[in-house]
Amino acid sequence: MDNRVVITGLGVCAPNGTTVNEFSDAIKNGISGIRHQPDLEALNFSCQIAGTPLLSDERIGQYFTPLELRNLNSTGIIYGVIAGLDAWQDAGLTIENNNEPDWDSGTIFGTGTSGIDKFRWAINKIDALEIKKLGSSVVIQTMASGVSAFISGKLGLGNQVSTNSSACATGAESILMAYERIKTGQATIMLAGSTSDSGPYIWGGFDAMKVCTFKHNHDPEKGSRPMSATASGFVPGSGAGALVLESLESALARKAKIYAEVCGGHVNSGGQRGLGTMTAPNPTAVQRCIQVALKNAGIEAHEIDVINGHLTATSKDALEIENWKVALALPDDSFPYINSLKGMIGHCIAASGSIECVASILELSEGFIFPNINCEDLNPEITNLIDTKCIPQTLIHQPINILVKASFGFGDINACVIFKKYPHE
């Protein structure tokens, strides 16, 4: 028999909050984490604003040994380890220094690429004929799976330890992979999440593609404008989100706090066929992903209370709303609430899905819908499709039962997860 899977721990390292409490407060109050970045300006970026988590050396020092801190130059690993360990602790799980690993616990912690600053440093050393000077820290900090390897070593995980990578769908996909592993009885506890580096070398390629806004270098907090008529490209972000997934049986047995239930979901690809390309989504695939996710979770479209969209603040936002509308096929007056966290934190690339899922779980468990910011001038193409009341611009306190989260990524890939409030008796 399949296990039911619940969420028992959250951790986050976001541009507008680096603890769950700080983040929860920020998203309720529409607080932006987007700031001007002097390094991007110095390097002639078109977009000179971004969202990065603010961490003191003292905070980082709580998660890494002095030896690990020497030569540590991977922001992705730092964010991932902080979010991951915080989620573990939030779930009431302890870190044991046993000789034997915890065979029933694992992690799927994704990234696009991490340790890019370390990689740059290593490449420069090699080209300067100083290969010997690389030392032992380059491989572990630049391998894509560095983040899951660091987390696993700290927690003593003995089940599957892996890093998934599926562009901007990475975070949502990590949750579904962890969910499947527990559902099918192969693991009891899985730490799911994803992380994304900060800085010019990770964001440069996007800047060159002209997909980031260049119109808000002097008013950073207004720069990320999902669903707005004046949306002019996304604002890059970074950070990590982490969620402890656990079998319901295990959570009940250890009397853990249960935030919500993962009911199911789906991942697919548009195959870069039809209207799909490397960078543009195939609408048929997006719609199918949402529909199959609902079917997989046993949820009807009319039961959805809130959609946490991908909605990056590009011209594609209206297309995404249209895809949701077609996929759900609801009467015009009963479209659910929809929000995008990217207005506050920008597009955290590989970390976007996991950070946005942490926000979604907080909404479900505490009963609120965070406000969309920077869309006071809603895009008319969107308001032609759905009622403006579906796009809240102020905080709403109300119990919600079903929340759907979707993320879409380069390569024409999609992920959609269905979360449900866990009824506490």
């Binding site: 002095p66 030896l67 020497r70 010997k132 000077k133 030392g135 032992s136 820290s137």
Partner: protein
């Protein structure tokens, strides 16, 4: 620099790589990096880099392979220092 001075300097280099408090406190010529100090073998290359920097010497691959104990390491450092002094 005499042998005792080299060992003293080496102690400071090695300390961050080992969590064996007792063994660290009793470092002598016979101390083995992996068996006694439980140093992760991947970190041996980092110790060599630190040694190169501290003593301003260069350590070749053959010498590096021998640097598994305080005794061998001290001897290699002394040799390289001597070679430098003779230049």
């Amino acid at each position: 620099m005499n042998k005792e001075e080299i060992i003293e300097a080496l102690k400071t280099i090695i300390e961050p790589y080992s969590e064996e408090v007792t063994a660290l406190a009793h470092i002598d010529e016979n101390t083995d990096f992996i068996n006694d100090l439980k140093i992760n073998s991947a970190n041996l290359v980092d110790i060599v880099l630190d040694v190169e920097e501290k003593f301003n010497i260069e350590i070749d691959n053959d010498s590096m392979a021998k640097m598994l104990t305080v005794k061998a390491t001290t001897e290699i450092i002394a040799q390289k220092l001597e070679a430098n002094a003779g230049q």
